[in-house]
C-alpha cells in the first residue's frame, strides 16, 4: 500500500488517538512524548516539601494542569497553582521573615506550549521543546506576597530500551525570573527583606530511568541538578536531589509517586545552619510528589 494513500486515514486515526502520551513516568524528569491532536489530559500534582534542618517547615504545592493536543506535535498547557506553607522555629534573614501557617491558598498560574521534534518510538530518540510562562503572587518559600514572572525553556529527551520496557528520560532547562516582594509590616529594623525588583536565572539538568517490572507498573529513579544565579551574589544556590518513583499506568489514568532527598547543595546558607553541605534556604531536605493524570 502506498504511504500517500494512507495519510487521510491516518489523520483521522490521529484525531481519535491515544492520550497516553502525556504520562509522567517520573516525578520531576519529563518525557518527550506529546498528546495527539484533539486529545486532552488533566494533571494534578501535589508536592510536599519538608525539613530545613531546624524548626518546622512543611509546604504543599498543588498544580492543576490541563494539556491539549493542538496538532500531533504541538500541545498547549495551562495550570493553576496553589500552596500551603507552615513554618515555625526558624527565621532566615531575607527569606523566612516570620512564622506562618497560610493554609491552602491560590498562588499562581502558568501557560505553556510544547513542540515535539522527534518521537522516541518512531525516531528512536525523542526530543521536545517546552516553553512555559508563570505568574505567581505568592512566594513558594516564605508564603509571603511576592509577584514573580518566570519564563522557562526546556528540552525533554527520551529513549526507549527493551522495546519500551526501560525508558530513559533527560531534561535540560533554563528559566528567567523577575520578582518583586511586597512590604511586610512590623519586621525588626535589622531584618533583611528587600523589596526592590530582583532578577534571577536558573538552570536545571535532570535524568532518570523507569522500568516496567510487571504490566502497568514501573519503578524508576531520577537525579537532578538545579542552580540559580542572581546579580548580587552570583550563584545563589545549587542543589542535587535524587530518589525513586513508582508509577501505575492504566487505561484512562495514571499516577506517579516520587520521593527525592537533597544529596548535596551549596550557595547561600542561613545563620546557624548545621549541615553546610545542603542548600536549605529555598530548598528543603526532602520532597514527596504525587501526580495523577486523567485522559479524555
Amino acid at each position: 500500500m502506498r504511504v500517500k494513500s494512507l495519510i487521510p486515514m491516518i489523520g483521522l486515526l490521529g484525531m481519535a488517538g491515544s492520550a497516553e502520551a502525556g504520562e509522567n513516568l517520573l516525578g520531576y524528569t519529563k518525557g518527550a512524548e506529546v498528546l495527539p491532536k484533539g486529545a486532552a489530559e488533566l494533571y494534578q500534582w501535589v508536592t510536599q516539601r519538608t525539613d530545613k534542618g531546624q524548626g518546622e517547615y512543611t509546604a504543599y504545592d498543588l498544580k492543576t494542569e490541563f494539556e491539549y493536543g493542538i496538532t500531533n506535535r504541538f500541545n498547549m498547557t495551562g495550570a493553576f497553582l496553589a500552596q500551603s506553607i507552615e513554618t515555625s522555629g526558624l527565621l532566615i534573614d531575607g527569606y523566612l521573615p516570620e512564622e506562618i501557617d497560610t493554609g491552602l491558598e491560590p498562588a499562581g498560574i502558568t501557560v505553556g506550549a510544547k513542540y515535539n521534534f522527534l518521537s522516541p518510538a518512531a525516531d528512536d530518540f525523542g526530543l521536545t521543546m517546552a516553553l512555559e510562562g508563570a505568574y505567581m503572587w505568592k512566594d513558594p518559600h516564605s508564603g509571603q506576597d511576592k509577584d514573580t514572572f518566570t519564563v522557562e525553556l526546556a528540552m525533554y529527551m527520551q529513549k526507549f530500551f527493551m522495546e519500551g520496557q526501560l525508558v530513559w528520560l533527560g531534561n535540560l532547562g533554563m528559566e528567567s525570573t523577575y520578582a518583586h516582594r511586597a512590604d511586610i509590616e512590623g519586621l525588626p529594623a535589622d531584618f533583611d527583606w528587600p523589596t526592590e525588583p530582583e532578577m534571577e536565572i536558573g538552570i536545571a539538568a535532570k535524568t532518570g530511568l523507569s522500568y516496567r517490572f510487571v504490566p502497568n507498573w514501573y519503578i524508576g529513579a531520577e537525579i537532578f541538578y538545579e542552580e540559580e544565579f542572581e546579580t548580587e551574589v552570583g550563584s545563589e544556590r545549587w542543589s542535587v536531589f535524587a530518589g525513586p518513583s513508582i508509577h501505575y499506568g492504566g487505561a484512562r489514568w495514571w499516577t506517579t509517586l516520587t520521593w527525592v532527598t537533597q544529596l548535596k547543595g551549596g550557595g547561600e546558607v542561613y545563620e546557624g545552619q548545621i549541615d553546610q553541605n545542603l542548600h536549605l534556604i529555598e530548598k528543603t531536605e526532602d520532597e514527596i510528589r504525587l501526580k495523577v493524570g486523567y485522559n479524555f
Binding site: M1, V3, L6, I7, M9, I10, L13, G14, A16, G17, S18, A19, E20, A21, E23, E33, L35, P36, K37, A39, V46, Q48, T50, T58, Y60, N72, S119, P120, A121, A122, F160, M162, E163, G164, Q165, R212, P215, N216, I246, H247, Y248, G249, G250, A251, R252, T255, T256, L257, I288, L290, V292, N295
Partner: protein, 178 residues
C-alpha cells in the same frame, strides 16, 4: 510528613483498579481469518537455542522473548499454505497479542490483533493499518513513517507490532525455511 500516608495510599489504590482487557479473537478464530482456505493447523514445535535467539535479535533488532514460540503449519489437503504465528509485543502498559500469517516464501499474508489490553491506541486494529504489512518480506524497511504509517498517540504500539512482524519473518527465515 503528617500527610505522607495519604499521599502513598493513592497509587496503592490503583492495585484494585482493573484494566479492561479487550480480547478480539481466539487462536482458532485468527487462524480462520488469516488462512480461510486451510483445512488443518498442526502445531509446529520449535525450541530456539541461545544462538538462534541472539541471531534473531541481531537480524531483526529486537528480542525474541519466547524460546518456544507458538507456531502452526497451515495446510489444505496436504498443500502447505504457510505459517501461523501468535506473538506478544510490549504495549504502553501491557502486552499486545497478535497473529501473523506468513507464506512459505516468507511473505506476510496478513496480521490480526487478538488482544489489545489498553483502552487507547486500538486503531492498530484498523484493517487499513494492518494491510500495510501484507506482501512484506524480511528485507522490507519496517520503519515507522517510512513504509509503515504511525498512528499518533499509539506510536509505541505501532513500533513494536512493526518490529514484531519483522522479527517473525527473521525467525521463519532462520528456523523454518524449507
Amino acid at each position: 510528613m503528617r500527610h505522607t500516608p495519604a499521599l502513598i495510599m493513592m497509587p496503592v489504590a490503583a492495585f484494585v483498579c482493573q484494566v479492561q482487557a479487550a480480547d478480539y479473537l481466539s487462536t482458532a478464530e485468527a487462524q480462520a481469518v488469516l488462512f480461510p482456505q486451510a483445512s488443518t493447523f498442526s502445531r509446529q514445535e520449535v525450541v530456539l537455542t541461545k544462538e538462534q535467539l541472539k541471531a534473531i535479535k541481531k537480524a531483526s533488532g529486537v528480542r525474541q522473548r519466547k524460546t518456544m514460540p507458538p507456531i502452526w503449519r497451515a495446510e489444505r489437503e496436504g498443500e502447505f499454505l504457510g505459517w501461523f504465528y501468535v506473538d506478544d509485543v510490549i504495549g504502553k502498559h501491557e502486552f499486545i497479542t497478535y497473529a501473523a500469517a506468513i507464506s512459505p516464501e516468507g511473505e506476510v499474508r496478513g496480521i490480526e490483533i487478538m488482544s489489545y489490553r489498553e483502552t487507547h491506541g486500538d486503531e492498530v486494529r484498523n484493517q487499513q493499518w494492518r494491510d500495510q504489512f501484507v506482501g512484506k518480506k524480511v528485507d522490507a524497511p519496517f520503519k515507522l513513517n517510512e513504509d509503515i504509517i504511525n498512528i499518533s498517540g499509539a506510536t509505541l504500539s505501532c513500533r513494536n507490532i512493526t518490529d514484531g512482524v519483522k522479527r517473525l519473518l527473521v525467525l521463519q527465515e532462520m528456523v523454518l525455511k524449507e
